[in-house]
Symmetry: D3
Subunit: 235 residues, 6 copies
């Protein structure tokens, strides 16, 4: 909680093998396999388009316009983690730039998800340090207000607990609770297999309406089929 | 209308030759030639930057977070159509992803305009299936609510009737009513010719103020010209 | 002021050498060196990503949906200027497109910052004429309402006086008053030197917490350090 | 269409009796009875809270920051009409203030729906001239650009044809096509009767889950019922 | 979690005495006393201005445009609870109207916090059933998708667990974890006492700068004091 | 400037008689009389609807989520001033609440314009201390970052210099430079007289189209007049 700021050094992380499996299926499939839960706000955009990452979350809870807790988070990570930054009130200032990215990178952090702004984006792209953020802003931040590291946070509208799996790509960012990750990976891979067959059928011209039985559904829903309407109505 | 859901199979399309001519001039010129009418909301962004398309519209009217009608629209198109998806209330969920794009592509649909979200955007770019959408979101949709196919819809703030010409590029999306398309193409090409000469003059350093006679206009509007102000006022 | 429209031909510009030095350090560093002042609204986005410019500002104050004053601004510039367009009320229409860009380019203007929309963005990218704008919109504008050229304006939330230095890159746009530019450049270069050493340390794995002394600060702020929490609280 | 501006004097209006019946049921019920179609964007807010109106639409299509066509619409109305103003591109300027409201009121117009801004709102409230608008702004508009009166328009995301019924109250604004108004009124009144009984049951403590049979639905959807969870999961 | 929908009947509630004490101090003071944590997004607005409530939360997690779970939540409450509705993806449709409010009221629920839209707002005000919502919209919702009741949810950017205290007034909505409520109430009442004295001093003309010692702070921060500047700079 | 924080004690204020005259005409007329310049962003909303104020501005420039400079501004005012708060980056936190309002009120400040959030709004209404703000939020702010008092600031998109006249009512907030205030008041009163006559004519049923000569303008603009169109086109 904000009132009792704490930095937690060690956390329990999701299994690396499972993390790798979720990376392989990507955000959209992971989200489906997780029962359509855990998707962060779509306003987070990929600052380095084309990147795909999956990693356990190291969380930081920061004050508005203050990135002190990101600095303190650097030593609370392991190689292969991703940093997840939540803020106590909405802010678009640049919480992370080249120097912090250099430091995180040196410590093996593979990317960051920030519910605020970032800066030095040309350099972040050059460094290939992928970030998902709400805004790009050169506005710097103070380092003066207490927050926490590795506590559960709400980032971009979703709860993230330290050690949870974060998957991020051009479709956005999704969180999977560490203890559900294996089961979600299982379901995700099943879904990939199932969709492979469907994709082939669709590519060959089969109709989803037939494959999924939507014609029956349509008639149950009272949808009529017409050859051509003389002058139909708009919504 | 929403209350009487209907799927219309055959529609009257704009002439393919005219469609090609509008593609050649692009969105901005088409919009000017159409008397500055028909431009969809600028919040629709090109998911595959650099794409330019023009095509007759196949329309789908969907409920919030429900893409059933896109599935039913697949068999109501002809090669070379573009899909236009309107929603009954605002929604940023991902109405279209890789599987639907594969199906639309297999049936010759050349792109989509969606007044909501899309997902699998990395794959859409790889497939070169151009989409214009309001958001990118991995959030999937249900297939449970009745809507319509090939009825007039309001998409991103503009009326689109089935068979109308849709032109879309990096500047956005514009709609031209099928029966006005030939006349708009005519005026657009005239405009292109006229602008060619002006562009050459401007590139040679001629001033628009002289070419267009804005100096006279300026003095009629009471604009004064000064060499330098000691300390002028802000707005 | 809007009520007494005026076009000012000659302005006093920041020193070209200083402008070049600010270009070399970029937006984020310039903004820091300027005491974190002068940053324009982060909603202005780079239409040609990767561009970096610095130049004295030629300002234009336009009415909603009217770009007349941009046309009149063309002859009030010198080679190497940048155009800064403010609007009297918010508007996302396309104030600048290929023709105006051609004209500005022919007269040596190296880019534009527009607190409104632009169009022909594919062509702007092809021409490598960098623009920072609030929106992309094919909607054209009238040329009928009086405004001013080279008066102080508020653009995207910041005052810009004619001749001020504008620095713009992928991080956004910052303004430095002409008479403070040399001092800001001095401080910016100092900062670059200082950060160079810190970057090397960070890349070698040194902790910012140690370099900056944040551990002391943390304990003064009442932040506790824990090995692991059984079940900590969220924000 | 914008390119061929026209002022149409006489329009076919929905039946006054039907209009009165829709006023009696209000926006939410009308919208339901219309198959959940025709609701304008919820960003339109009631400037005079507590007002309820229903009336045939006199439409005006205006340019950005230009209200000329509202002035020309005044003589194209009948007592009891409502003015519906659409704009060709988004604008928050004040299209209507006390003088225009005085004129409209003198001609029997009972209110206005404006997909832009209004001003003099304290006076509008004093006059009890109800307006639904997207913004309040003192910014005045020009009277210089051609538009149309009494043509079909898209206002706040929905098509409105001249003579259609507009119902507006604190819940927003809905449009009913003139030729469907009688049928919609019929269904709306049925709905009111049906809801009366349900309201009484609910007020007496009956559960909607029982009245509507949602318990069966819930179990079909796989929802389980638990007495208490030790530690359940979040979304 | 979304994937395993569950309705939990019994929850552990914060102590009623503590709830009453938090109601007495209001949102702003509760939020301060909670270490500035737990404040829901300020976009939630009071539909019935002037209302002040505090109550244990009964939570419902709903799909986009589907309010089935609110219906199922009615029987999972006790007299004096407040309903908290979260959504799986952003939606402004009207999740709650007069009928549901009647039912909730009949079962002793004293208000609702909805991270989406509401309708029948004139009736809600008449009934004095206070609601905090993101939007007002007449758009109805389906009752077809599974969700959960009385599970932890993220509502308007903050975690809410069933039984937590919700305090809501014209300043917004704040959540206090049930087990921390007594301590927060303690600190809040202390704060009220302390502020009482300060308020009296301030009303008598004492300066906050003196009471809080801000003059020293100012000089430590390098703020200078000047009688009058000839021509000072803007930001 | 932010980099050299300064508190200026004495400022030159607009003439009180002129201030009173601008208050009498209100925001919309003042804005027109000022050549449609100086209107602050319409997103500032009146927290105490129905209030009308005009006063010389005492300005404060604050950091994101830090209201220290408001505290320091209290002693830099005279009876009858209004406080204008600008922020260095966008923020919706509550910069002003009951205590600060009590202090400002005790020192004769008659209201505040804040380009950020406020809290304790029920108490502000009770105290009749009028505030115009961008948001309502209970989130408190720090008192730790240097800013300035009585320097020129950009507030809600417009330059405000200390001593300028601020007029604020339900239509928003407008700034008039101190040295132009007398002239603007003159023109505003003329406008009020002129509009009085027009209002009477309009109330008697005269058409604006006739009074202002819009029929001629319409035909010059190519607008045609039609009795009735069989089926006209939408925008």
């Amino acid at each position: 909680m904000n009132g009792r700021p704490v930095v937690v050094r060690d956390i329990i992380r999701a299994d690396p093998g499972v993390v790798a499996r979720l990376r392989a299926v990507g955000v959209a499939t992971t989200h489906e396999a997780a029962g359509r839960s855990g998707l962060l706000d779509h306003r987070l955009r990929a600052i380095c388009p084309g990147s795909v990452v999956a990693a356990p979350a190291v969380t930081a809870l920061c004050h508005a316009s203050d990135n002190l807790m990101i600095h303190l988070a650097v030593e609370c990570r392991r190689r292969g983690d991703i940093l997840v930054v939540a803020v106590t009130s909405e802010c678009t200032d640049g919480y992370l730039g080249e120097l912090l990215a250099t430091s995180l990178h040196a410590h093996g952090v593979i990317g960051a998800v920030i519910d605020a702004g970032v800066r030095d984006v040309a350099l972040l792209r050059e460094m290939e340090f992928p970030v998902w953020a709400r805004a790009v802003s050169a506005q710097g931040t103070a380092k003066a207000s207490p927050g926490s590291v590795n506590v559960p946070v709400v980032c971009a509208g979703r709860l993230v607990e330290p050690g949870d799996v974060i998957v991020a790509d051009d479709d956005g960012v999704v969180r999977v609770p560490a203890r559900e990750a294996a089961e979600v990976a299982e379901r995700a891979e099943e879904r990939v297999r199932r969709e492979k067959g469907i994709r082939r059928q669709l590519a060959d011209g089969a109709l989803g309406a037939d494959i999924y039985g939507f014609r029956d559904l349509a008639s149950r829903l009272g949808i009529t089929f017409a050859k051509q309407e003389p002058r139909s109505e708009e919504q």
